[in-house]
Amino acid sequence: MREPTYFVLASLMDGPLHGYAIIKRTGELSAGRVRLATGTLYTALDRLTAEGYVTQVGEEVVNGRTRRSYALTPTGTGALRAEAERMAAAAQVVMASDRPRGAGTRLRRPGEATA
């Protein structure tokens, strides 16, 4: 799962949001690292809806324009949790290591004297 997808799904964890709110929340959750363009967001929402990760839950008219809200489905929640666990396990490999950085054995170059 790519980072923008991960944060779009994560932005919907606390409840349904509409497009603009998803863009804002994604920026907050990623500490400004993921800045979604509107075109990118809707491409992502199309894909995630087709995959069954996200569903449209509401529709209202604001300033004469349709505004739809999107929510995580149980499949989406499962995929988000699985991805979070995968990343946590990957981070654990590095974080749990008590060896100082660079202290591991390294291959000797040909002709290099042994200590």
Binding site: G19, Y20, T40, Y42, T43, T66, R67
Partner: protein
């Protein structure tokens, strides 16, 4: 309507019309919500995302069709192109295949009727099929492939899985321009000089466009390029076996066919490799 809204509306045209009617309003609202106060122009980043999003939406629309439906439409387009070019050649008195007005009129009439049905109404396709078969048995003349191509197109039209995109009509600009070039040469020979160089150059430019346009079009819809592949494969196979233009030209057509089929292969591979976003 503010200048920014007008510009966003223009950019949203990158998306297919049916997508815009469902999502356009909502996207426009989000675009205007995310705009900075006093902003008059869309940012380069937003514009690029909208253009690529539009291309993706168009690609997804055609990619969702089954392989058999795509092949069906591509075969129809290949046949229609062959017939339209052949009709133009038949109308040129400088070529051996020049036919009588009756012959030409029958084929042209049937072809136009089939095209109209293709783009307009499915139910009438059966009538075109009957007329095409009647013409086949009554005329028994004309270029050998054309005699079969018109009824084949009528059969495929009658069985067609869906209505064709209207943009495909642009494909038939080539035969029309070819016809205009022929007529121009007939009416004003001095324009093309005694060597006929300008005339040949024009024909090559037209053929180049005929190959290039479907290849560029393949970014959103690979079916016209696939139709071109079918067309060239047909010419190639007919001539490799000793047709009118020779074996070498036959192999060149086969090579062109492989080039035209490439976008479809690239898209098949790309679809398999594509991530969730």
């Amino acid at each position: 309507m503010s200048p920014l809204e007008r510009r966003y509306r223009r950019l949203l045209r990158a998306y297919p019309a049916d997508y815009r009617s469902g999502r356009g309003d909502e996207m426009l609202g989000t675009l205007l919500d995310t705009a900075a106060p006093g902003q008059r122009r869309p940012s380069a980043r937003e514009s690029t995302a909208l253009i690529f999003g539009g291309i993706r939406a168009r690609t997804a629309k055609t990619a969702s069709q089954s392989a058999s439906a795509s092949l069906h439409l591509a075969a129809m387009l290949a046949l229609a192109t062959y017939i339209s070019v052949d009709l133009v050649l038949m109308a040129n008195p400088h070529l051996a295949s020049f036919s009588t007005p009756n012959e030409w009129g029958t084929y042209a009439g049937l072809f136009v009727a089939t095209l109209l049905i293709w783009f307009v109404r499915r139910e009438l396709a059966a009538l075109a099929l009957v007329a095409a078969l009647a013409a086949l048995f009554s005329l028994k003349t004309g270029p050998p492939l054309l005699v079969w191509a018109v009824p084949c197109l009528a059969v495929l039209t009658a069985l067609r899985p869906e209505r064709l995109p209207k943009a495909w009509l642009a494909w038939f600009c080539l035969p029309v321009v070819l016809w205009l070039v022929f007529m121009l040469r007939l009416l004003n020979r001095s324009l093309f000089m005694s060597t006929g160089m300008l005339y040949l150059q024009l024909i090559w430019v037209l053929l180049g466009l005929f190959v290039l346009v479907p290849l560029i079009w393949a970014v959103t819809d690979a079916r016209p390029a696939f139709a071109l592949a079918i067309l060239f494969a047909g010419f190639g196979l007919a001539n490799v076996e000793g047709g009118s233009v020779g074996v070498t030209t036959g192999f060149r057509y086969l090579a062109l066919s492989a080039v035209a089929a490439l976008p479809l292969l690239v898209r098949l591979v790309w679809r398999r490799r594509r991530a969730v976003v």
